[in-house]
């Protein structure tokens, strides 16, 4: 059995106005996990705890089998990290950054780095301060990928990118995953990006992991069911109901546990199912967040 890329067990980090509570996650080698959450959900805090940059108050963190933050130097030899707000030295060139990073990582792949320079249309002799936001993100991604890490931790890497640059970055990440032992944790509030590349999706809101599952399971089990409810019939209790809206005879139920049981329950109650709609990841995310916020103590 291979060592998981990431194991977070009951991790807690308390700030004055924010608390990451009881966060538990597991990412296997070869998987891409999308960490989805609104601004301030705790995505960056979680990733920085994984990098050893922030020390958790409670709980255990292991990255590539190393205990964090104690063994962070050893773990980071096999981690590539990119964050939307990460900056490079403005006065230095990309070529200088490439030489600097190459001097640190024995596994630096110069050919792959050159390939990425061409694919991303970067100019190594250009100083970093002259790069656009998109070019800067691609430069940091290049530096993170070219030492061939076993784990990529990407904190909102596509935020602020134009559609073409976003496509290039996501395509490169998919390409990086051809190595079946490599894992990626990818945080974003853009569910479209996450849906495109992730195998596993974790929803985070207000410092809590509210749901985590593989992408197909999410997309399969969440449905919006439109019912025709006759006046003299009581609304049946459908499995996994997270939201119900009524408009005359039409009732729309959002369920997180769509199955034949939903049809059986409706049939038994004498309720007709008019339509069953699949939900996008964004709709699932919003419905999930809103329902969990309702359950949370204020």
């Amino acid at each position: 059995m291979t060592t998981p890329a990431i194991e977070l067990a009951h991790v807690e980090k308390v700030y004055r106005y924010f608390r990451l509570s009881d966060a538990s996650l597991r990412l296997e080698a070869g998987q891409i996990m999308g960490l989805v959450g609104p601004n301030g959900a705790g995505k960056s805090t979680t990733i920085r705890i994984l990098m050893g940059m922030i020390r958790q108050d409670r709980g255990e963190v292991r990255v590539l089998g190393r205990s964090m933050p104690r063994e962070q130097a050893a773990a980071k030899r096999d981690i590539g990290f990119v964050s939307e707000d990460m900056r490079l030295y403005g006065a230095a060139t990309l070529a200088w950054h490439m030489r600097f990073v190459a001097s640190i990582y024995p596994d630096w792949d110069a050919k792959y780095a050159d390939l990425l320079v061409r694919r991303f249309n970067l100019h190594p002799d250009q100083s970093i301060k002259a790069l656009s936001h998109g070019e800067r993100v691609k430069a940091t991604l290049l530096l993170a990928l070219a030492h061939r890490p076993r784990l990529l931790l990407l904190d909102e890497p596509t935020t602020g990118l134009d559609p073409v640059a976003r496509h290039e970055v996501l395509a490169e990440l998919m390409d990086a995953l051809r190595d079946e032992h490599r894992a990626i944790l990818f945080s974003s509030h853009n569910t479209h990006d996450v849906e495109q590349i992730s195998d596993v999706i974790t929803f985070l809101d207000r410092g809590r992991v509210i749901d985590s599952s593989d992408k197909e399971t999410f997309l399969d089990r969440w449905r919006r069911v439109h019912l025709d409810l006759p006046p003299d019939v009581a609304m049946p209790v459908l499995p996994g109901t997270v939201d119900t809206s009524v408009s005359g005879r039409v009732v729309v139920v959002t369920t997180s546990a769509y199955s034949a049981e939903v049809h059986a329950a409706c049939q038994q109650a004498g309720v007709t199912i008019r339509e069953v709609q699949r939900m996008t990841l964004e709709e699932i995310f919003v419905a999930n967040v809103m329902s969990k916020r309702g359950e949370m103590p204020s």
Partner: protein, 221 residues
């Protein structure tokens, strides 16, 4: 010293090379002025102090405060470095970046006083001032490293700059300095040696405390 610490030190020294080189050139020009007459000696002396203070402020601002503020620290901490190694590398790189020009200019100052018409008796006073500037640098680096705050950095600069204005009259009011200041020979009294020793030891203590406090921080970004 392990490999990653060495790489980080070399990186910082490379990025600060123009500042280091420029301060040495500016400091040597200031020293070259001093033998040209009484007014020039004063102007050159003040310029030398200013060069070292400007070097001090810029080194710490660009290499510690700005690195954190501009989020370059995220890039550095993404490398296979522990937070303790980062702290040690940062302190060593900055210490080298200031100490090298400081040593060059201090040595040049001694030679210049020795070979020029300027009385050698002034040398203990000058070394006490230069040692104070080294202490000032260590203190500013320590405050900025521990607080990583522009506000504290600015406060430390104001206190440091004002303190230099107090230091010179305080030194000149001491009989151990004034009694031999115009003499042809440098007289190293116990008083002046104690002042220099306290300045150097206080600088080392400030840096030691900074390394201790900084590497114990739970959060680095």
């Amino acid at each position: 010293m392990n490999s990653i610490v060495r790489h980080l030190i070399l990186k910082d020294l490379y990025l600060m090379r123009w500042l280091i080189g420029g301060s040495i050139v500016a400091g040597l020009l200031s020293l070259a002025m001093m033998p040209l007459g009484k007014i020039f000696a004063y102007v050159g002396g003040v310029s030398l102090i200013c060069v070292l203070i400007v070097l001090n402020i810029f080194l710490v601002m660009t290499n510690v405060v700005q690195e954190k503020k501009d989020k370059v620290l995220l890039f550095i901490l993404s490398l296979p470095v522990s937070t303790r190694e980062y702290t040690v590398a940062k302190v060593l790189a900055n210490t080298i970046a200031f100490t090298v020009p400081w040593l060059v200019l201090t040595a040049a100052n001694i030679v210049m006083i020795d070979v020029s018409q300027i009385p050698n008796g002034i040398l203990p006073f000058w070394l006490a001032v230069l040692a104070y500037l080294l202490f000032y640098y260590c203190s500013l680096l320590a405050v900025s490293l521990v607080t990583e705050s522009t506000g504290w950095h600015t406060t430390a600069i104001i206190i440091g700059n004002v303190s230099v204005n107090f230091l010179i009259p305080i030194l000149l009011s001491r009989p151990s300095v004034t009694a031999h200041g115009d003499g042809p020979v440098a007289v190293w009294t116990g008083d002046i040696l104690a002042i220099i020793a306290v300045e150097l030891l206080a600088g080392v203590a400030a840096l030691g405390l900074a390394v201790y406090l900084h590497s114990r921080r739970p959060d680095f970004v």
